[in-house]
C-alpha cells in the first residue's frame, strides 16, 4: 500500500524535476506526461486494493457478503483524465512543431537567446 502511493509520489517528483530543469521542449512534454501518469496511478490505487472484484453488479440476488468491489468512480475519473491528458499533449506538441518551424530548434534556452 505505502509502496504504491510512494511510487506515485516519486513519479510526480520525477516529472516535476524534469519539467523544471530540462530546456528541451520534447523532454518537457514528457515530464508533463510523467506527472499526469503519477496522478493516474494515484487515482487507480485509490479505487482498488489487490483482490477487489471488478465493479459489475451480479445479476443473481444472493451476492456473498465477503466480496469487495473496486470503487468505479476513481476509474471513471482516470478515464476522463486520460482524455484531458491526450488533449494537453496534442496541443503542447503542436506548439512544439510551430516553435520548431519558426526557430529551427526545440531548445527553450536557445529560443530565448534568439528572441533577445
Amino acid at each position: 500500500m505505502t509502496l504504491d502511493y510512494g511510487t506515485a509520489i516519486a513519479l510526480l517528483c520525477l516529472g516535476l524535476y524534469c519539467v523544471m530543469t530540462k530546456t528541451d521542449l520534447i523532454k518537457i512534454v514528457i515530464g508533463i506526461n510523467i506527472m499526469e501518469s503519477a496522478i493516474l496511478l494515484f487515482l487507480v490505487r485509490l479505487a482498488a486494493a489487490p483482490g477487489d472484484r471488478a465493479p459489475i453488479y451480479p445479476a443473481e440476488s444472493n451476492v456473498p457478503p465477503a466480496i469487495v468491489f473496486a470503487d468505479p468512480i476513481p476509474q471513471a475519473l482516470s478515464l476522463t483524465q486520460i482524455v484531458i491528458n491526450a488533449a494537453i499533449t496534442a496541443i503542447m506538441l503542436s506548439f512544439v512543431v510551430k516553435l520548431y518551424q519558426s526557430y529551427r530548434t526545440i531548445d527553450l534556452a536557445e529560443i530565448r537567446r534568439i528572441q533577445h
Binding site: I28, M35, I39, L43, I73, P74, I88, I91, F95, L99
Partner: protein
C-alpha cells in the same frame, strides 16, 4: 424543474460546434450567430436571477440523477454573480473580436465559445471533479487563442503558460483525489462536511495543494512568471479574455474551494497566507509594471497587482473584505478589458512598444480617451468604479490593524499613477503624429469599448444598490 442552469452551459457549446457549419453557409450568418449566442447567454443568466433571489440556491440534477451518483449544478448568488460576470466579459470580447480578428477565422470563435462553456460550467457546478474538467476545458481552449497573435513569441508564451497551468492542474487534481479518498464523495458540500472530521494531515495536504494550484492559476506573486508574457503577447481581445475572465474564474474556484473546505481546518492560517501573498503581489506587480516598455506587458503586470488586491480582500477574512474583493473582481473585468481593447485600437499597425506609440493618441482619439478612463479607474480615482473596491478593502484592512497591507495598496496606487501617466504622455506627445490612422470601421469594437467605459462609470453610481447584495453573498460564502 427549470432547465435554465444547464442551458447556460449547453448554449455556448452549441454555438461553438455550430460555427464551422454556419461558416459554410455564409460569413455574415456566422458573425450574427456570435452576437446572438453571446447575448443569449447573458439573457439566460438574467432569467435565473429571480429564482435564485427567491430560493437562495437552485440545484439541477443532470439527467435526473441525484448528488451521490450524478452530476449536480448548484446556482447560488456567488456562482450566478460570476457566471454573469464571465458572460458579460465574453460578450464584450466577442464583439471586439468581430472587428479585430480576421473575418474568415471562424476557428477563433469556436475556441472562444468553448472557453465560455468551460468557465460557465466551472462556476455553476457543485461537483469537485466537474469543476476540474470544466477548468481544463476553458484553459485548453485558451492556449491556442494566444497563438492567434501569429508571431513565434506568442507561441512560446502560450507554451509556457500551458506548462504552468498544467502543473497547477496536477496539484488541484491531486487534492481532489485526496479529498475523494478521505470522504468518498465528489459533491462539494458533502465532501466539505466529511472532510472537517477527517485526519488532520489529509486536510492540510488538500488545502495546501489547492492553495498552490490556484496560486499558480491566478498568478499570485511567487507563481506569476507565466502571466506577463502570455497576456502581453496574445491578441488584444484575448488579453482581455485572459485578464478579465479567466483570472476571475480562477479566483472564484479558489475562494469557493478554500472557504468551503477551510472552516475547522485552519482557515485563519490560510487567510493569513493569502493576505500576505496578496500584499506582496500588489507591490511586486505595480513595481514591475513601472519598468515595462511594452504597453500590454505593463497592463499584464498591473493585472498581477489587481489580483493581489482581490486576494488581499479575501485574506482579510471578513465579510466586508470579501464583498470588496468581489466588487473589485467585477470592476477589474471592465477596467482591464477596456484598457486592452483600447490598446488594441491605437496599437493597430504600430505595435505595442511605447517608443512606437508616440503621438498615437492623436490618431485614435476615441481609443485613447477610453484608455485614459480605464487607466483612471485602475488607479482608483473617485468618480470611477475602481475606487470603491480599493477603498473598501483598504478601509477594512485598516479597521483590523493590517497597516502594512493597507499601505501596500496605497503605494500601488501611487505607482500605477506613475506608469499610466507615462503612457498617456507618450500617447499625446507632439512627435510622431503621422503614424497610421485608427483602423476604420469598427461598429462592434466601438460598442465593446463603450460598454467597458460605461461599466467603469455605472458601477460607481449603482454601488449603493449592489453593496447589500454583495455583502449578503459574502456572508453566505463565509457561512
Amino acid at each position: 424543474m427549470t432547465h435554465l442552469s444547464v442551458l447556460a452551459v449547453v448554449l455556448p457549446l452549441l454555438c461553438a460546434f455550430l460555427m464551422p457549419l454556419l461558416d459554410m453557409v455564409s460569413n455574415r450568418v456566422n458573425r450574427a450567430a456570435v452576437v446572438l449566442f453571446a447575448t443569449g447567454q447573458i439573457v439566460v443568466l438574467l432569467l435565473l436571477i429571480p429564482q435564485v433571489a427567491a430560493d437562495g440556491t437552485v440545484e439541477y440534477h443532470l439527467g435526473g440523477w441525484g448528488p451521490r451518483i450524478g452530476i449536480v449544478l448548484v446556482v447560488d448568488g456567488f456562482s450566478l454573480l460570476f457566471a454573469l460576470l464571465v458572460a458579460v466579459g465574453i460578450w464584450m470580447v466577442s464583439l471586439f473580436s468581430l472587428d479585430y480578428v480576421d473575418r474568415r477565422e471562424y476557428r477563433y470563435f469556436v475556441l472562444l465559445f468553448i472557453v465560455l462553456a468551460g468557465v460557465t460550467g466551472m462556476v455553476l457546478t457543485g461537483d469537485l471533479f466537474n469543476l476540474y474538467v470544466f477548468f481544463e476545458l476553458a484553459s485548453l481552449a485558451s492556449f491556442p487563442l494566444i497563438a492567434f497573435a501569429k508571431n513565434p513569441g506568442a507561441v512560446e508564451a502560450a507554451f509556457r503558460y500551458m506548462l504552468y497551468s498544467t502543473i497547477a492542474s496536477v496539484f488541484i487534481l491531486l487534492a481532489i483525489g485526496l479529498t475523494y479518498g478521505a470522504t468518498g464523495t465528489l459533491n462539494l458540500r458533502q465532501a466539505a462536511e466529511v472532510l472537517s472530521s477527517a485526519d488532520a494531515t489529509v486536510r492540510s495536504a488538500v488545502l495546501g495543494l489547492l492553495l498552490v494550484g490556484f496560486a499558480i492559476k491566478v498568478a499570485i506573486v511567487p507563481f506569476h512568471a507565466w502571466l506577463p508574457e502570455a497576456h502581453g503577447s496574445a491578441p488584444a481581445p484575448v488579453s482581455a479574455l485572459l485578464s478579465g475572465v479567466l483570472l476571475k474564474t480562477g479566483v472564484y474556484a479558489m475562494v469557493r474551494l478554500l472557504l468551503t473546505f477551510g472552516p475547522g481546518v485552519g482557515l485563519g492560517r490560510l487567510e493569513h497566507i493569502l493576505l500576505n501573498l496578496g500584499a506582496l503581489s500588489v507591490i511586486v506587480g505595480h513595481s514591475l509594471a513601472v519598468g515595462q516598455t511594452n504597453v500590454k506587458k505593463m497592463l499584464a503586470f498591473s493585472s498581477i497587482a489587481h489580483i493581489g488586491i482581490i486576494v488581499t480582500g479575501v485574506g482579510l477574512g471578513t465579510v466586508y473584505g470579501l464583498a470588496g474583493a468581489l466588487f473589485h473582481a467585477i470592476n477589474h473585468l471592465f477596467m482591464k478589458a477596456t484598457a486592452f481593447f483600447a490598446a488594441g485600437r491605437f496599437g493597430a499597425g504600430r505595435g505595442f512598444e511605447m517608443a512606437d506609440l508616440r503621438g498615437a493618441g492623436w490618431q485614435a482619439p476615441w481609443a485613447a480617451a477610453a484608455f485614459i478612463v480605464s487607466a483612471l479607474s485602475l488607479i482608483g480615482l473617485p468618480p470611477l468604479a475602481g475606487f470603491i473596491g480599493k477603498w473598501e478593502i483598504t478601509l477594512d484592512a485598516l479597521r483590523h490593524g493590517h497597516l502594512f497591507h493597507a499601505a501596500a495598496i496605497l503605494l500601488g496606487t501611487l505607482l500605477s499613477a506613475v506608469y499610466y501617466g507615462r503612457v498617456t504622455r507618450i500617447l499625446f506627445s507632439k512627435t510622431g503624429q503621422n503614424g497610421p490612422p485608427e483602423k476604420s470601421g469598427g461598429l462592434f469594437a466601438g460598442l465593446a469599448l463603450c460598454a467597458g467605459v460605461a461599466g467603469c462609470f455605472v458601477q460607481f453610481l449603482v454601488w449603493g444598490r449592489i453593496e447589500p447584495i454583495l455583502i449578503h453573498i459574502a456572508g453566505l460564502i463565509r457561512g
